[in-house]
Each structure stands twice: as C-alpha cells, then as structure tokens.
C-alpha cells in the first residue's frame, strides 16, 4: 500500500484514501466501534467515566419514570391476559433507552418514536389517564380511539403520534428537524427506531438526507436483538447499526442501552452537537427485548430461556436503583412505597378508563380532512340512520347521538 495521492482524480468530488496497486477489501471489521459505559450493574461508576449532567432531582425524576414504566407495562400485560385490553407492547429490560434519551433532551425538542418508547412519553409527563384512555380507545383518547393500543401522541408534549408502518418516522424526523433549523428554533428532533426497522428503505433515506440537508436530528436506534422472531444476525451482517453512520458521514456513538447514565450522556452530547453543528447524530443503544414482542407474541417459539436469563442480569432499572441507593438519594422503603403506590394507581385507572364511552359517532369522519367533505357528511348521515334502525347491532354509538 502506498500513500501516493492519485494524480488523475481531482479531490473536490470525494475524499481520497491511499492509492494501492494490489486489491484490498475493506469490510465490516474495518471500523472499530467503541461502546460507552458509565454505570456498572452494581451501581458503581467506571473509574474514569465522564458523567452526564445530572443532579439528585433529575435522577429521582428519571428513576420514578422508570418505575412507572415497569409497573404500567406489567399491569397492562396482565390486563390483556385478563381480556380487559385487546393488545399491549411492553419494553421490559430496555426502559433506559427511551427514558434516558428523553431525559437528555429539552421539552421543546420533538420526539418521534417507533412504538416501544412509551418511557420517553412518561418522562415528558403524559398522565396515567392519558395512557389509559388511549389503551382503551375511549372518547377521552387524544387520538379519538382510532389506533390500536400503544399508539400514543401529544402535541402539547412534542411527542408525535405513533404510526404502525415501520421506519416512516425516520425521514420525517429529518424534515421536522430541518424545519426547526430553518426557523432558527433552539430545538432538535429525536427519532427512535428499532434495529429491525433500520432495514427499511426509509432509514437509508432519512439518514442520508439528514447528513446532506444538515438537519439537527438525533437518530436513536434501540438495538434490542430482535424484530419479532428475527434475531439481529438475520437482520444484518454489519457491526450493528452504528457502523452505518460511517457510510452516511454522520457522527455516531454506541452506548450500553441498559446504562441510563451512558444513554443520558450520549444524548446530551448528541443534542449539543446537533444544535451547534446543524448536523445529525446517530446513537445506537445496545439492549435486549426481555419480554414478548407484544401480547400477541410468544418468544418461546424462537429463543431460549438461557438467552433471556443472561439479560435478566442487566436490568437497567435495578442498575439505576443501585446507583441512587449508593448516592444516598433513595432507600428501599421509598422504593417499596413507590412501586406499591404505582400498582394501585394503575389498577384504579384501568377501572375508570375501561368504562368510559367510545368516541362519538361523528368522529367517524372528522380529521380525514381539515373539514369533512360533503360526501363524508352524507356518508355519516347514512350510517346514523342505519344505526338508528338497528340499535342493537351498534351498541357503542346507538342512542348516543
């Protein structure tokens, strides 16, 4: 290999490496990807670690969010088993990714998620009632009962409503962040997605465009090892998702996704970089989906108990608890009180929300356009007349308009 520069090719168009006269391949191992870790599972900090900006109040807020997350997931999975709820998706074992990410942002930052990032919404302060009303698609749901459970969204909290088609939010995040930049707003867009969704064409589009269009967007990949039944090694052969950042010319950092401090630190520096440089950053958080993909799934069909058990030892919530205990910011009694209180609150909230009426029949045709078209109004009138004719067949709406 010589380091002679090519005499024939001007250098404006692309960066040059060394000129060689014997063929050499580069490949997945040509880039080394460090992984950021700050917190040991036992709650101690790695000796030479750079701490994120965090104080006691912030730490407790984060921990309480994690606790709420864990409890809500547990209770709702149980409610689904009891037949009270049609569907649910837990984030067991990877709660630190969404919560830590949100904790590294400012409230004016936009958050776009895939679906397993309810932790970010909790951190932003979405109320238990709001969660419940969405899950039970009742008339108080901000989304008007139109989407399956877990498709939350809130304009007030700058949290884009979840959309089921995977990957679509990725180029959208680029566009959103571009708009923030053009308007000179002191805000970034945070875009979460799974390592499975990163296979979609929209991922490629969104990251490349963010680099080219210089959009202050943080791409946050939750690499939890599975896309439903498909393990990561049947999803890609590269070194995770971080290795792709190199190809897009995007600043990229890999973190231990179960290490809340590492996630927080990475998000804090990513936000600062994105805003200062008007450029995207890619974060890959390594974790593991400890539970089923959703309540419709049973992972015993595609992976072993042993594999799961290994990861149980990495519980991110316990890890954070160990740290705040060591800091003297928390004690076991507070912990018990917190968890018990949360369990009761959630149970009580279920009982309230499941009894609230379904949305009004008029919501059948609203929000398709800014204003219902005359065709839609006519269609609604037909439905109403029909419901009035057969009230027993349409119990949710009959007699309610």
């Amino acid at each position: 290999m010589t380091t002679e520069k090519s005499p024939e090719i001007p250098s404006e168009l692309y960066k040059q490496g060394p000129v060689v006269h014997q063929p050499v391949f580069i490949d997945g191992s040509s880039v080394e990807i460090p992984e950021l870790k700050i917190l040991h599972q036992d709650g101690t900090i790695y000796p030479d670690a750079d701490m994120p900006e965090i104080d006691e109040a912030h730490a407790i807020k984060i921990y309480k969010t994690l606790a709420f997350h864990r409890v809500l997931d547990e209770r709702m999975v149980a409610s689904q088993r009891q037949g009270r709820l049609s569907f649910y998706m837990a984030a067991l074992g990877e709660e630190a990714a969404s919560v830590g990410g949100a904790a590294g942002l400012e409230p004016q930052d936009m958050i776009m998620t895939q679906y397993r990032e309810q932790g970010a919404l909790m951190y932003r302060g979405f109320s238990l009632e709001n969660f419940m009303n969405q899950l039970f698609s009742n008339e108080k749901d901000l989304g008007k009962g139109r989407q399956m459970p877990i498709h939350y969204g809130s304009k007030a909290l700058n949290y884009l409503t979840v959309s089921s088609p995977l990957g679509t939010q990725i180029p959208q995040a680029t566009g959103y962040a571009y708009g923030q930049k053009v308007q000179g707003i002191d805000a970034v867009t945070m875009c979460y997605f799974g390592e499975g969704a990163a296979s979609e064409g929209d991922f490629h589009a969104g990251l490349n465009m963010a680099a080219v269009q210089e959009a202050p967007v943080i791409f946050f990949c939750r690499n939890n090892g599975y896309a439903i039944s498909t393990p990561a090694d049947e999803q890609f052969k590269g070194n995770g998702i971080a290795s792709r950042g190199v190809g897009y010319g995007i600043k990229t950092i890999r973190v231990d996704g179960n290490d809340i401090l590492a996630v927080l630190k990475a998000t804090q520096i990513a936000r600062a970089y994105a805003l200062e440089e008007n450029a995207p950053v890619l974060i890959e958080a390594m974790s593991y989906r400890l539970g089923a993909h959703s309540t419709s799934d049973d992972p015993s069909g595609y992976r072993t108990r042993e594999e799961e058990e290994k990861w149980q030892a990495n519980d991110p919530i316990l890890r954070m608890k160990n740290w705040i205990l060591a800091q003297g910011w928390w004690d076991e009694e507070q912990d018990n009180t917190l968890f018990e209180g949360l369990r009761e609150e959630v149970l009580a909230a279920v009982k309230v929300s499941e009894k609230i009426n379904k949305p009004h029949i008029d919501t059948l045709i609203t929000d398709v356009y800014d204003e219902p078209t005359s065709q839609l109004k006519a269609q609604l009138e037909e439905v109403k007349a029909h419901v009035n004719k057969y009230p027993e067949a349409y119990p949710f709406t009959a007699g309610k308009f």
């Binding site: 139109r146 399956m148 088609p165 398709v368 839609l376 269609q379 609604l380 057969y390 349409y394």
Partner: protein, 325 residues
C-alpha cells in the same frame, strides 16, 4: 378430505408447491423458523431447509425486489408481506417492476413465477394499519393478477393456481377468516381457475357480488332477504384482475340488479370498476342503479369499526332499496 382452517389450507398449498419443485422458495419477515406471525409457513423451514424458507430483513421493497429477481432467474418465488397494510413500500417494485417486466422486455424476461401472499382485511380490531383492503390500489395495473379466496377450499386451489400461473400474482388472504373459516379441503393437489368468478347461489331478483371475507356477509344478507321473499344470486369474483366480466354480466342480465359489497372505502374501490363496466354492458337490463356497499371514505377506524364496515345489515338494507327502487 380433511377439516382445515384457512391457514392450514394455505400452509398445505405451500407444502405441495415446495414438495413438487425444489426451485420453490418461500420468504418474508418472520416466515422462517417461526413460520410467520400468523403461522402460514409453519413447518416449511424444518421440512425444506433454511435455503428455501427463510426470514428476510425487515424491508418490504427489498422482499419484492428480491422476489422479482429470483422469479426472473427461474425460481418459483413466494414472498410474504406480513400485513397488506405494509405492502406500500413495495408498491414501486410491484407496479413498475413486476407488472411491467415482461412487457418492457418484449418477453425477453418475465417474473411469471412470482406470487405475493399477504394477509388483508379488517374486522379484527386492527385499526387503520392492520385492517386495510388495498386490492384496488393494484387493480389499475395491467400485468398483475389479483386473487382473493373466500374459504379454505378456495384458498388452497387458488393459491396453487397462482403459484403455477405464469404471471405475477398478488394473493390477498382474508385474515379475519384465517382461523374462523373452517371447511373440508382435499389433501391432494388441485387447482381452481384464475380469472373466473363463481356463482355460489343462484337467484333471480338481484346479483350480490363480492370477494374474500365479504362473501360471508353477502350470504348472510341474502338469507335475510330470502325471508322477505327476495331471491339473491350470490357471486364470488375470486379474481380481481383480470376479472370475469362475462360471468358477472350474465348474472346481472338475468337478475336485472347488481349490488357489489367491498370492505375498502367506496371511492375508487374495485366495486367502482365493476359498476362502471356493468352499467355499460348491461345498460338495457338494469332495473335499478348498481349499488355499492363499501367502507366509508375514511381510514379504517378502531373503536367504531362496527359502524364503519359494510356488514350484512347494510347489505340487506341496500338489497331492499335496490329491489324497491
């Protein structure tokens, strides 16, 4: 004969297709070891190996792009799209590529060996992204065939015909019927013809036309109407493209009336094509306007699904309106 549900019938058809030709390959998201989220490909990887039945990365445009290339190469490519709601990232590969492969090359190349299977339709509390019936989006595309079975027997025979047909076929599987529809299905190989509608019940007053899960609804409505002394001819279109104009028009010329019901929204749905053609072909025979009983012109809702769908009561009302026109 065996009792099979619709999923078993499909699994059985795939098994036959893979057994008879070692060039047959099945793939898609989670279809490998796990056998698909609905388990339609269950057991196939064990039986035929990982090379012939496998998981793909999560990328629909890639799945169909890959399938196009594989079919062009001469393999029998059976691709699964996990939900029809997620077929749109592959729209370009289907509409601009699969459909035009043979034509644009002057028959130098083709993807006749391609079959795309996908669960579709609503009525399962799936909301707007697990309920869509996108057949009409594909029906404007010469070069494609589009097939929808109504029960397990039809599913097996039509799927085998689709796999063996020398044109790219999009095969929509009514997922509401996957486990709900059970019937006698021969264990041996058989095919049902593509491009042929089937008169399921003869009648004289009105023709009720549908496909897939909507057939059940029309049949139920026909029963209600029968109590009122209205005799319905119930027809299953089975193939959306190319569709069987002849059988449909013959029926309409006999009954003088047509009702088409479809799960998808009314506007620009396939019912509209049928109405447009039939009003032209049967103009002098029509005793009342052709009725379309369809989903509303909105995305598919969740909480108010019942209100939205073209159920048997709506069809029944429309039958009466048509007969009393």
């Amino acid at each position: 004969m065996a009792q099979m549900n619709l999923l078993h019938a499909i699994n059985n058809a795939l098994d036959i297709a893979m057994a008879e030709n070692d060039r047959t390959v099945c793939f898609g998201e989670d279809v490998g070891h796990f056998g698909g989220v609905f388990r339609a490909t269950s057991g196939l990887q064990d039986k035929y190996g990982k090379t012939r039945c496998f998981n793909t990365p999560l990328v629909e445009q890639g799945i169909i792009g890959f399938a196009n290339g594989l079919a062009a190469q001469g393999s029998v490519a059976i691709a699964e799209i996990q939900f029809a709601d997620y077929i749109f990232p592959a729209f370009d590969q289907i509409v601009n590529e699969s459909a035009k492969f043979r034509y644009r090359s002057g028959n130098e190349f083709d993807v006749g060996k391609l079959t795309i299977r996908t669960p579709y339709g609503g009525g399962i509390a799936g909301g707007l992204y697990h309920s869509q019936s996108p057949e009409a989006y594909f029906a404007h595309t010469p070069g494609l065939k589009i097939v929808v079975p109504r029960n397990p027997y039809q599913a097996k025979g039509l799927l085998l015909a689709s796999i063996r047909d020398d044109n790219p076929v999009v095969f929509f599987e009514p997922k509401r019927l996957y486990r709900a529809s059970v019937g006698e299905v021969p264990e041996e190989d058989y095919q049902l013809p593509l491009g042929k509608a089937e008169v399921v019940q003869e009648g004289s007053d009105i023709t009720l036309l549908a496909w897939g899960a909507q057939m059940e609804i029309n049949e139920k409505a026909a029963e209600l109407a029968a109590n009122d002394g209205i005799s319905c001819e119930v027809v299953d279109l089975r193939t959306i493209l190319p569709w069987d104009i002849e059988t449909v028009c013959q029926s309409v010329m006999k009954t003088g009336r047509l009702l088409v019901s479809q799960e998808a929204p009314l506007t620009a749905g396939f019912a509209s094509e049928i109405a447009a053609t039939v009003q032209s072909e049967c103009f002098l025979h029509l005793e009342s306007p052709i009725a379309r009983v369809c989903g509303l012109d909105t995305p598919y809702p969740l909480a108010l699904e019942k209100e939205y769908i073209s159920d048997h009561l709506k069809v029944y009302e429309a039958i009466k309106a048509s007969v009393n026109y």
